[in-house]
């Protein structure tokens, strides 16, 4: 941990918490997050992602070489008048990025929570049209073979797709959106899509019964071989994740620590990540590499948050999350 960040964390902890709390927090590592300006899906997207990767994960070439990488976009429903899903052009650029980094293969996989015809959804959303060999690269996570893992404090078996558990790296290629139950859906919430509908149904009601916030944290505690790339080029505000309003935020956020990436996204949306329950909980668990959400714990690279942040409209339930 860098001395500057350590001091800043200690100072912040001292201000906000008791001495005992501060002592507990001090061993936390910093996480690196890159904020990349990208005003459109058309111009130099791959070079922007390469730039982001150099900042966010300098060791990526060595770590990714000859590995199987899985891109997990956010595919929910298709409506040509809005921006519900991760844009396929960004997913294509991510695929090219990881192939350039030396990945052995790059899969694309999703398991939507409402719609059963995943292939058709991907087709409508434009994935099949622009991604080469899409039919050979795409895995419907709702229908994949599964393996059980212990979850929810070891209290139950959770069946997850073998493809997710077996690949070397899962990249959450999420959409930056507000969310009417969880405040914001970003790279961590995106993992709801890995829970197989064929076992848990449509919608994936189990996750709601266990608690949305708890389930977000739990899935991210299980799926640890991750990297996050959040599509905030055209994001969604208001009553997301489906019926909100598109907003040109012009940003891509990247990093290894999904909680740090999401905390940064929240700040870009002018929401307080320290008040978003699943982010608070993931930080409280102090899992190495997952949960640096305070500003002082995040080594911000690329653009500054101030230069690209803008207030996202939220539903009344989350008005208290707004940053000044």
């Amino acid at each position: 941990m860098k001395r500057r960040a350590l001091l800043a964390t200690a100072a912040l902890s001292g201000m906000a918490c008791s001495k005992r709390d501060a002592e507990v927090r001090m061993p936390l590592e910093t996480s690196t997050v890159a904020v990349i300006k990208a005003s459109s899906y058309e111009t130099e997207l791959l070079s922007r992602l390469e730039e982001g990767m150099r900042e966010a994960w300098p060791a990526a070439p060595a770590s990714v070489r000859d590995k199987i990488v899985l891109l997990k976009p956010n595919l929910v429903e298709f409506d040509q008048n809005t921006c519900i899903n991760t844009d396929p052009r960004l997913v294509l650029a991510c695929r090219e990025l990881f192939l350039k980094l030396g990945a052995k293969s790059v899969l694309i996989a999703e398991g939507p929570g409402h719609r059963r015809d995943t292939w058709d959804l991907a087709d409508q959303a434009g994935y099949r049209k622009i991604i080469p060999d899409f039919d050979d690269r795409f895995v419907d996570l709702n229908l994949d073979d599964v393996r059980s893992v212990r979850a929810y404090g070891d209290s139950m078996d959770l069946f997850l797709p073998k493809t997710i558990l077996d690949v070397d790296l899962v990249v959450s290629v999420a959409k930056m959106k507000t969310h009417h139950w969880a405040a914001a859906t970003l790279s961590m919430k995106n993992f709801f899509g890995v829970v197989p509908g064929a076992i848990y149904g449509w919608p994936k009601n189990l996750l709601h019964y266990q608690g949305i916030d708890q389930s977000i944290v739990e899935l991210n505690r299980i799926i640890r071989h991750t990297f996050a790339i959040v599509d905030g080029i055209v994001a969604m505000e208001g009553n997301g994740p489906i019926q909100g309003t598109p907003v040109n935020a012009g940003v891509v956020v990247m990093g290894k620590d999904v909680a740090a990436v999401d905390a940064t996204c929240a700040r870009l949306m002018k929401l307080d990540p320290l008040k978003i329950k699943y982010l608070k909980d993931s930080a409280a668990l102090q899992i190495p590499g997952l949960g640096a959400i305070e500003e002082a714990q995040i080594e911000q690279r690329g653009e500054t948050i101030n230069s690209l942040s803008r207030p996202f409209a939220v539903i009344d339930d989350f008005a208290g999350l707004r940053l000044a």
Partner: protein
């Protein structure tokens, strides 16, 4: 497409299913994948009871029945789920021993949605629910302990049609009445159904093709006025591109007496190689009321 070409595409799919029946008798969702109850049920319906694949497939379904009477989704995935409703008509058609049928029927009759807690009912009665649905009306959940949703409820209603002689008549009537009301309560403003929420946080939600079809299948024996829903289904069929939704809509509309000719958009097979879609396309081409109702 000519009739000959269309029949070829049906036979092509049946051949695909024949080739991809696993050694345990079941089918996976995709070639080479482990058997599961859901694709096996659709494959068996597509192949029919006279096909050599039938008895092995039924044996696979039977092997997924747990002590509780319900069926789990597949070997190695314990815990009975909604697939019990989906499989029941096939187990009945296969003349499984009475004890197995009774325990499966009993499991189905005893499982209902977990919604309807005190707070939920109070909020509903005060008009303060975030989700607009009558919590007193329970259908079937995907898994015990969760809420009722459209698809498992539709299959629950279909299963009730095959239970005569294996469960108390009063129990069957009671579940049919409440589950039918539940489906009608969850119907979207446009006349169709989505997974089961018509209005959330004041926002009216649209229906989907596939769930509209499934709800109509579930209501096939109902005497309620479904005109608006059938119109919605026809509109979805005209607009939809997805094979899953189009096949189910063709099936549902035909079972409700509408004249529908299903036309596949992928005569040489669906690019996803999804075996359940192959089964549904066979059913969309030929299945009648007798496939789902006794």
């Amino acid at each position: 497409m000519s009739i000959a070409t269309f029949m070829d595409s049906v036979e092509l799919r049946r051949e695909l299913l024949r080739k991809n029946q696993n050694a345990d008798g079941g089918w996976g969702y995709f070639p080479g994948k482990l058997s599961r109850v859901e694709p096996t049920c659709y494959a068996l319906r597509a192949m029919g009871s006279s096909d050599p694949a039938w008895s092995q497939g039924i044996r696979y379904l039977s092997s997924c029945q747990e002590k509780s009477g319900g069926l789990n989704p597949g070997h190695g995935i314990p815990g009975a789920t909604w697939v019990t409703q989906l499989a029941f008509p096939l187990l009945k058609q296969a003349n499984l021993e009475a004890k197995s049928l009774e325990s499966a029927a009993n499991w189905i009759l005893n499982i209902e949605g977990a919604e309807g807690g005190v707070l939920q009912r109070i909020l509903y009665s005060l008009g303060k629910s975030k989700v607009e649905q009558d919590p007193r009306l329970k259908g079937w959940p995907w898994r015990p302990g969760n809420n009722s949703w459209v698809e498992p409820t539709a299959h629950g209603l279909l299963a009730l049609n095959w239970m005569k002689g294996h469960a108390p008549e009063a129990g069957i009537r009671y579940r049919r009445e409440i589950a039918t009301k539940m489906l009608l309560d969850r119907r979207c403003m446009d006349g169709g159904w989505n997974y089961g929420n018509k209005k959330v946080l004041g926002e009216i939600l649209p229906s989907y093709p596939e769930t509209t079809a499934l709800a109509l299948l579930g209501l096939a024996a109902s005497s309620h006025d479904l005109k608006a829903s059938l119109e919605r289904a026809k509109a979805h069929l005209a607009d939809s591109k997805g094979t899953y939704g189009r096949a189910l809509l063709s099936l549902a509309l035909r079972i409700h007496g509408e004249k529908v000719e299903y036309e596949t958009q992928h005569p040489l097979g669906h690019p996803s190689r999804n075996l359940m879609l192959a089964s549904l396309e066979v059913l969309a081409a030929k299945a009648g009321k007798e496939t789902f109702l006794q």
